[in-house]
């Protein structure tokens, strides 16, 4: 006589129950993830004087209102400048670091890699404080714009490095060698061959770095000056005193632009860039 696999009577209902539970909890958590975004965007279209959800009526008045807010426009400008400059600085460093990591062999490579990734290891708020500490030490708090450029460029180097590194590692070395055999100097080789190949990585990295810098509070909170409030820091202090829907309109504008950047990433390099550790 041989042993047989018998189907237990509770198995089928259990599987069904499991499936219902699985999909149920996924739906719940997806609603949880979307809730703050959706609620903000929806309530920004309210026609009422105070923010409510669901909104009373529909109007774009708060969007027109914020366009006249001085603090919004100036801090937006500051944030855009800071994010652009720091991203540019970080791009140069990240491309050079990626090149060293993919194309060079040397003994201190492990240490170099850890150094490049160290901004991810050190808690952002500690770095912000440490940087602020040095700024105070040298009495440089007047140069707050410069401080923001520099501090953000430091933290965004590893964020940019990852996608650039992986696209450079995926670029066949023999392409560069072929170009050199055909008479291209290393400089020409980089611009004609390597750069076009790693451009998607640079774009993705730049978007991630730009968003990070644009969104940052943790570091900026230590470094902003009265004339150089970044948008998130300014928004943070305004929200408390603003019961109307103008902060909702501003956050919706930010969400809208973030969505655009997100889809650019999805189209260019795919969402896998977020998965790399």
């Amino acid at each position: 006589m041989s042993y047989q696999v018998t189907e237990k009577i509770w198995e089928k209902p259990l599987v069904e129950l499991g499936r219902v539970f699985l999909w149920g909890s996924v739906c719940f958590w997806l609603v949880f993830v979307l809730a703050p975004v959706v609620v903000t965007v929806v309530s920004s279209f309210t026609a009422a004087e105070f923010l409510t959800f669901p909104p009373k009526g529909f109007s774009l008045r708060w969007y027109f209102r914020v366009m006249e807010l001085d603090w919004f426009l100036t801090s937006m400008r500051t944030s855009l400048i800071v994010a652009t400059v720091s991203t540019l600085i970080a791009t140069v460093f990240a491309v050079m670091a990626a090149r060293v990591l993919t194309r060079h062999r040397f003994r201190a490579k492990g240490a170099f890699e850890i150094l490049m990734l160290s901004p991810l290891i050190i808690p952002g708020v500690v770095f912000g404080f440490a940087f602020f500490n040095v700024v105070l030490q040298f009495r440089l708090e007047g140069l707050s714009l410069l401080n923001l450029f520099v501090a953000h460029s430091v933290v965004t180097i590893p964020l940019m490095l990852r996608p650039i590194w992986s696209s450079m590692a995926g670029t066949d070395l023999s392409l560069e060698e072929a170009a050199q055999c055909l008479g291209a100097t290393p400089w020409v080789t980089f611009w004609k061959i390597t750069f076009p190949m790693i451009l998607p990585g640079i774009v993705a990295g730049a978007i991630i770095a730009f968003t990070f810098s644009f969104n940052d509070i943790t570091i900026a909170i230590f470094l902003v000056g009265p004339e150089t409030q970044t948008l998130p820091v300014q928004l943070m202090s305004q929200i408390e005193y603003t019961p109307d829907a103008s902060p909702a309109a501003i956050t919706s504008i930010i969400i809208f632009f973030t969505l655009i950047l997100f889809f650019i990433i999805d189209r260019t390099v795919g969402m896998d860039v977020f998965a790399q550790k």
């Binding site: 023999s174 392409l175 060698e177 170009a179 050199q180 055999c181 291209a184 290393p186 080789t189 004609k192």
Partner: protein, 348 residues
Amino acid sequence: MAEVKLTGLSKYYGDFAAASNVSFDVESGSFLSLLGPSGCGKTTTLRMIIGFEEPTAGDIFIDGARINDVKPWLRDLGVVFQNYALFPYMTVAENVAFGLRRRGMEPADIRRRTSEFLELVGLPGKEDRFPRQLSGGQQQRVALARALVIEPRVLLLDEPLSNLDAKLRAEMRFELKRIQNETGVTSVFVTHDQEEALTLSDRIVVMNQGEVVTVGKPKEIWERPTSAFVADFLGVENIFAPDGAEPGAVVINGKRFAAEHDGRSSRLVGLRSTDIEFGGDGDTGLAGRVRQTSYRGAINTYVVDVPGIPRPLYVSTAADLPIGSDVAVKPRDGAILVLEPDMEIATE
């Protein structure tokens, strides 16, 4: 056209010799193959000629000028890579024109030259395609055109045929030979495939473990391999130590066979399976028994145990015998190869 000369070229990684004391000449306009198994140092040698690896010792001369310190992009060499290394976001024409642009040629001339060379490699009219739209063989031709269009002093090819399937490989071999003949460019070809080396080359350099084992014309190397390694690499099936030797002969199982032997006892003998025949009597042949046969159409291969020889002999012949037959085997006259013992011989 140019001639290449390597003298004592070596590349060490720590204690490991990737290439050691490699010396050979490539005559102007000739085709030389670097033949050997993977890791034998042939690619390292090629990369030193190109300039991607810095020699630890030794010199490289092109037309008598030492080029060790010349940067790769100034060496004026055409290189075809194993994976073709076509620039994926450039069209065929842009790929071919890349080297010409670097040389500052006029756009009109570039266009003319580009189509001229695409015609030479058998791809007329494919200028606007992208590499991914081409088959492997066509990509190979583009890579060749790109390397040749700059009229390089030397053409260097790194296993260019190994990514192609068998049929295409044979076709490209003839193409490569035709194109080399038409352009007359001095060529150095790296391969692990003896057939490619034999059919294409004017001369072959066989390498093993970083060293040059032998240099010669294909016919010489095929017919008179000098060492056990070369013979084994060229597919000589039977290599073993004879019982004894004297000048002009070797002794196997107590029987004397004529061979070009100098009498030094350490030497091995080699016999191609096709150079052994069944027949002969107790005096002239070696008695043995068929262990195994494999049918291969016109010719059958037999594995024959011969008492006294440590390995069974492989014999290829048209004869048709069952397993277990008692046979006498005999090498053809003058077929015994006398070999330097430069490798371990496996015994059963």
